[in-house]
């Protein structure tokens, strides 16, 4: 809570080492950053989404809200993170996380309507996030339609009109750059 506990208990650290992908020296750094985001006089250990989004690593990322929603374990799912959610986030985005964990979370981040598959609406929102907001970079409706059709043709193996997790992981496994680009360094 706040800045009072700047030291993490040792048992917690060793437990974290078993659960997460990074090493003990990293926890102190992560704890420091998280304490900076926390409000000193608030009682809860959760940091609201707006404060998380002020982090320089996430500030301008077009997927920042989705990232917060995916890793948040709060009941109303408002995107607020506890320290452990924060560690979970950093672990999934760390250097040594496996391809499987990364593709799992990437799938959940790209699944804008949270229904377990990427359908045409999800893909359209994804492409709009990737290409940005300006007029010259956005795709026109014709190109978007063509793009979604091509993506589904290439990646939808069972031809049900959506890309599910296994199909997504199959596409990702063919791209060796994914692991190095799905990284956030603190």
């Amino acid at each position: 809570m706040g800045g009072a506990a700047s030291q993490l208990p040792k048992e917690m650290v060793s437990e974290y080492q078993m659960i997460f992908f990074f090493l003990s020296g990293f926890f102190l750094r992560a704890h420091k950053r998280f304490s900076e985001l926390q409000d000193r006089d608030s009682l809860s250990s959760r940091v609201p989404m707006e404060k998380i989004l002020t982090m320089p690593e996430l500030k301008s990322n077009p997927f920042r809200r989705r990232i917060c929603h995916v890793f948040s374990t709060s009941e109303p799912n408002d995107g607020s993170l506890t320290f452990e959610d924060f560690l979970d986030l950093l672990s999934a985005f760390s250097d040594s996380a496996t391809l499987e964990i990364k593709s799992h979370y990437a799938f959940r981040i790209f699944d804008f309507d949270d229904d377990g598959t990427l359908d045409a609406g999800d893909l359209e929102k994804l492409v709009n996030c990737l290409t940005g907001d300006t007029d010259e970079t956005r795709l026109n409706p014709e190109e978007m339609r063509q793009l979604i059709k091509n993506i589904l043709e290439e990646s939808d193996i069972d031809k049900d009109g959506t890309v599910n997790l296994s199909e997504f992981q199959h596409v990702i496994s063919r791209s060796p750059d994914f692991v190095s680009s799905f990284k956030i360094v603190l």
Partner: protein, 830 residues
């Protein structure tokens, strides 16, 4: 009865809903249902308030009312390729669809646990701790075994699966358990619960064995202590990582492509560090402690540039090293005790020629092994069996670089991705229009012309270097004959001409190649990358080849005609000069090429774009510099240290210039693949060439008579041979060593056999890869067929549901009846 309907539908809901969404109707289908309810808003009051019934009834009417769906349904038999989302389904069908295992596998906790239960089971089987038959879950359908979605005892099964997962985990070895736990995509609380349960079971079990032997207790304590030590060492290492903040800044602004250049620089730095430690410890240090007697020249500033003068009589060059065995205290004692014949030396012997030979050989051998290992690891990461398809999907799913954090860079990334997507789309559209024969012919003519120009210019430059070096050689010879008494430093400054010429060629010609490539048209941006890399490589390899001939073929062949007492030191000086000139020219290029060009283009040409950071060219320059360092280690043991200083300066210089002047490349840069290619280039032309050069020098060329550790021998290699022979004389049991030496090392037959075995292994691996490709295409076919099965079943389900519906749609206005709902329920349990 309404109650009955609710009950059965609740049952259905309890079984089929995804645990994430509590409402029972997922958002994506929500719109579908909403659209259908809007059609029938007039009838809203007539329906009962139970949400499910409403949805059921309205939806069904909607389904019946729309003619298109009926038509679709009629055509269902013919068109099997309609995606499932286009059709209008009833709520029950939608619920079935939404809770299908393929859709819930990523979200449902039960599905994840089942999945990992299967994996731990496989791992246990592999680790030979066979699970009992009781552990296998019974299921109605083998292909969905392990998925907790559609089984009859779903609620019980989840809990059982959890218990079994915990049992599996605690039967695995510790490292596997930790890895498995880390890889599970569950929330932290759940992982903690599982871990605690697994450890608890283990604790309970171990307490059952009363007698724990003392030895294993000690072993456990030692292992725990070691593990703590290992973790703290690893975390210390991570703190010591060089340049972590700088690299983070670079990747935050420029992305992974430019980062790969700096990571490559760091790798080279580590190689040189290793090399300098080995040579420093084994060669420089002993010789520095026992300095050989030599005349010392005064230090003047120009030596730093030419490498000659004062430096020739220091540890820096080969010529300084003695060919005797260094003995401690013997020199003094011999001088003092003139009567005694035996020297009272009890201390260390250090055979300098042997040390020199073996150190260089050992350093090269270990560097080679590390390089090959790095190359194979990088290759394994980047090689994919079927890469040709799915370019657009890969671009959309996998190309966003999350490391980039600066706002302007993110904007630039968006622009780049948008351009690349539009280009890919237009390419795909174009591919459908095939090119005419004339166009193809025109394209190949342009390619041929470009290649002729590049090869021609390379040849011209190589010949220029050849004749210029010949001219310098002749000039030096004539001067030696005339016995020129000019200042030796001025003479050595004159020798700087050749490095300047070579560096100029290395600077200007890649620009020319870029200009030529600009007029060509390639199918994909990666092809143009490969072509430009190949052309640059060709240039550098041929120039280095000519230079090696110049040093070994001309200078080493006949050193006395040049007036050289020590040709090895001279060649070492040449290499030092080349390295230094390369560095100076890189500095000038960074200053003029990037800084001034940016000022010029922004002020004079008024362009908004900064110059692009050309990754391929810079990495090739690094490889060239490293090749020079490897070529020169034999003659200058201190050269890796010079290279380290050069790399450090280059890092800071390039980073500063990058931040101020450049922007990221606009074309897509596949970092992983390119890194593999660069490491391969570092290993094959660069390191292999250097080791061939060194091996040739050691094997065949006669060392100088009057300097260096190998003076008086016929070849450097002979020192090793002599040592082996001396060993045999001293101890006849070691005769096998001589035999091994003669038959294995000197005989090329052994090499041929080794190479043959290597090629056979490679052949087997390629056949295995071919087979895997075939399996992949067969499996894809199978998945497609399964998908069609699924569609068929769902539409059949809907059809039967719809057939039963007309009977009950009249009854919905009053009390609702039960009958029709039960039929589709039973079909759900297929």
């Amino acid at each position: 009865m309404a109650r009955n309907v609710n009950f059965e539908l609740h049952d259905l809901r309890a079984v089929l809903e995804s645990p994430v969404d509590e409402d029972g109707i997922h958002d994506s289908f929500h719109q579908l249902i909403e659209e259908q309810t809007l059609d029938l808003s007039a009838d809203a009051e007539a329906y009962e308030l139970s949400e499910l019934e409403e949805g059921e009834g309205r939806d069904n009417l909607g389904y019946l009312a729309s003619p298109s769906s009926r038509q679709q349904h009629g055509e269902m038999q013919e068109e099997r390729t309609e995606p499932l989302m286009d059709q209008q389904w009833s709520t029950a069908t939608l619920r079935v669809l939404s809770s299908m295992p393929s859709r819930t596998i990523g979200r449902s906790r039960g599905a994840i646990i089942s999945n990992y239960y299967n994996r731990t089971m496989q791992l246990r089987r592999r680790r030979q701790s066979r699970p009992s038959i009781r552990d296998f879950a019974p299921s109605s359908r083998p292909s969905i075994r392990g998925y907790g979605g559609v089984e009859t005892d779903a609620g019980v099964d989840d809990e059982r699966k959890w218990r079994q997962l915990v049992i599996n985990l605690q039967n695995l070895p510790v490292s596997d358990r930790v890895q498995m736990l880390r890889c599970m995509p569950l929330s932290v609380d759940e992982k903690r619960e599982i871990r605690r349960a697994a450890l608890e079971y283990k604790g309970r079990r171990s307490s059952e064995n009363q007698r724990v032997p003392c030895f294993s207790q000690l072993k456990i304590c030692v292992i725990i202590a070691l593990r703590h030590g290992w973790y703290s060492w690893l975390s210390l290492l991570s703190f010591l990582q060089l340049w972590q903040i700088a690299l983070k800044k670079v990747s935050g602004r420029f992305g992974t492509g430019v980062l790969s250049y700096f990571v490559f620089l760091k790798t080279l730095l580590l190689f040189n560090f290793f090399l300098s430690i080995v040579t420093g410890f084994f060669l420089v240090l002993p010789q520095a402690i026992y300095p050989a007697l030599s005349y010392a020249l005064k230090f003047q500033g120009l030596e730093l540039l030419t490498g000659g003068g004062y430096f020739t009589s220091t540890v820096m060059y080969y010529g300084y090293y003695t060919n005797s065995t260094l003995k401690k205290d013997c020199i003094w004692q011999q001088a003092i005790s003139q009567h005694s014949n035996q020297t009272a030396c009890h201390s260390l012997y250090y055979n300098m020629p042997l040390a020199y030979f073996f150190t260089i050989g050992f350093a090269f051998f270990i560097t080679g092994i590390i390089l090959v290992y790095t190359m194979s690891k990088s290759f394994g990461q980047s090689f994919r069996i079927d890469k040709s398809q799915g370019v657009l999907a890969m671009k959309v799913f996998a190309s966003w670089d999350f490391k980039v954090s600066k706002k302007s860079s993110i904007k630039m990334q968006c622009e780049n991705i948008s351009t690349q997507i539009k280009e890919l789309l237009s390419e795909l559209a174009l591919q459908q229009n095939t090119m005419g024969l004339l166009q193809k012919f025109g394209k190949s003519c342009v390619h041929l012309l470009a290649w002729t120009m590049c090869v021609g210019s390379t040849l011209a430059c190589v010949l220029a270097v050849f004749y210029f070096s010949d001219y310098m050689h002749m000039d030096q010879k004539s001067r030696a004959r005339v016995n020129d008494t000019a200042n030796p430093l001025v003479k050595e400054a004159g020798l700087l001409a050749l490095p300047v010429v070579v560096s100029t060629i290395n600077l200007l010609l890649p620009g020319f190649f870029n200009a030529v490539a600009w007029m060509e048209e390639y199918n994909s941006p990666s092809t143009s990358n490969y072509v430009s890399i190949f052309r640059n490589l060709m240039l550098k390899v041929s120039v280095l080849g000519v230079l090696c001939y110049h040093w070994l073929g001309r200078i080493a062949h006949d050193p006395t005609s040049l007036g050289l007492q020590c040709w090895e030191s001279f060649v070492g000086q040449e290499l030092y000069r080349f390295l230094l000139m390369d560095f100076i020219f890189t500095m000038l290029d960074t200053f003029f090429g990037e800084f001034l060009w940016r000022l010029f283009s922004q002020k004079a040409l008024k362009r908004k774009r900064k110059p692009v950071f050309d990754i391929a060219r810079h990495v090739l320059e690094l490889i060239y510099g490293q090749t020079l360092a490897w070529l020169g280690v034999l003659f200058i043991p201190v050269l890796p240290i010079v290279q380290i200083i050069k790399l450090l300066c280059m890092f800071y210089m390039k980073k500063a210039s990058l931040m101020m002047n450049c922007q990221a490349p606009r074309k897509p840069w596949r970092a992983c693949q390119m890194t593999t290619i660069f490491i391969t280039l570092l290993c094959f032309p660069s390191f292999l060439g250097a080791s061939v050069f060194v091996t040739y020098t050691m094997w065949t060329i006669k060392p100088s008579e009057s300097c260096g550790p190998f003076r008086g021998l016929n070849s450097m290699f002979q020192s090793g041979k002599r040592w082996v022979e001396e060993l045999e004389k001293g101890n006849p049991n070691l005769g096998w060593l001589v035999w091994a030496h003669t038959y294995l090392v000197e005989n090329p037959f052994f090499l041929f056999v080794g190479a043959g075995i290597f090629l056979i292994v490679i052949y087997f691996h390629t056949q295995v890869l071919d087979g895997q490709r075939k399996i992949i295409s067969l499996l894809q076919e199978q998945i497609k067929n399964e998908g069609e099965d699924k569609k068929f079943l769902i539409t059949k389900l809907q059809f039967i549901h719809e057939q039963k519906r007309p009977l009950s749609s009249h009854r919905i206005r009053g009390a609702s009846e039960v009958k029709p709902v039960s039929v589709p329920l039973s079909l759900c349990y297929l």
